[in-house]
């Protein structure tokens, strides 16, 4: 008979580390999808997910079982991703004059015929990634959670551990930061 999550967690806490494996198996896809929002290279993504699981194992005692395990794990995952962003800030200083040809073409198409600039184009995805890379860690986290994942301010507050007013302030700043980055693209390409 398959054991419930609560039973598995209780077993791990009693010292049966093997009971942790079904949890890793079940939730790894979710953690990988989250990590891939913030890191591009496979090795970095794997490092993040690995760290999330090791932290989850070490901190399992602090899981009180009041909320689903998945929520607790996702909080841990988002905070680990934020730590990753903060420790990899050096990548932010790339110039938009280094845009690839397909990215340039997509931008051109967007300027002249916005309706033909597709949302599924690989160039568009690369450009989004490039723009997000230019944002500061809190701005990137907020834009990702609020605008891309469409989460509420309260949810973001729970995930990040920031207060609701702080999330709002950071969201305001993040949008301003994004506007600046986009303005820089426009300046570098069309002036």
């Amino acid at each position: 008979m398959e054991r419930t999550e609560a039973e598995l967690i209780a077993a791990v806490l009693k010292g049966d580390a093997a009971s942790f494996e079904p949890l890793v198996l079940k939730y790894s896809p979710r953690v990988f999808a989250t990590a891939r929002r913030y890191a591009r290279r496979d090795s970095e993504v794997e490092d993040i997910v690995q760290e999330v699981w090791l932290k989850a194992f070490q901190k399992l005692k602090s899981f009180r079982g009041e909320a689903p395990f998945e929520h607790w794990l996702m909080r841990l995952a988002v905070r680990t991703c934020y730590d990753f962003l903060r420790s990899h800030q050096r990548n932010r200083e790339t110039s938009f004059s280094e845009l690839t040809e397909p990215e340039d073409d997509w931008l051109e198409r967007f300027v002249h015929h916005p309706e033909t600039a597709g949302e599924n184009a690989a160039a568009a995805r690369q450009l989004v990634e490039r723009v997000l890379q230019r944002l500061s860690p809190p701005a990137r986290l907020v834009i990702t959670l609020l605008e891309i994942e469409d989460r509420s301010v309260k949810e973001i507050s729970r995930l990040t551990g920031w207060s609701v007013p702080l999330v709002k302030v950071r969201a305001f700043r993040a949008r301003a930061e994004m506007r600046k980055v986009l303005a820089k693209i426009a300046r570098e390409k069309y002036l």
Binding site: L54, V111, V131
Partner: protein
């Protein structure tokens, strides 16, 4: 270029292309191996390590104070005066009694 339109478009692109949730083969085995290989927390070992780390600063402080004790003080007179004054103040009453009983007075 309409920046707010570009912002909307890029966000729409990001929404339309969510990252994949593929997990590398046997990833859970790797995690379990790491968990199994983690060092077991021994309280005595942690305590001993803390003491060992504290030993070096303690020795440094001890050497500093030893050196300080051997170096002759430059304001010894002042401290000598102070101790003399302290002695006089504390023993003033006794001195007074002795002086009263002194037959030579």
């Amino acid at each position: 270029m309409n920046l707010s339109e570009l912002h909307k478009k890029l966000i729409a692109v990001a929404r339309a292309n969510p990252p994949g949730d593929a997990v590398p083969l046997s990833f859970e085995k790797r995690i379990m191996a790491l968990i199994a290989a983690r060092p077991v927390m021994d309280r005595w070992a942690v305590w001993a390590r803390g003491l060992w780390y504290a030993a070096a600063p303690c020795v440094a402080v001890m050497l500093l104070f030893s050196a300080w004790a051997f170096v002759p003080s430059t304001n010894e007179t002042a401290s000598g005066d102070l101790s003399y004054q302290f002695d006089s103040a504390m023993l003033a009453a006794v001195d007074q009694v002795n002086a009263d009983n002194d037959p030579t007075w």
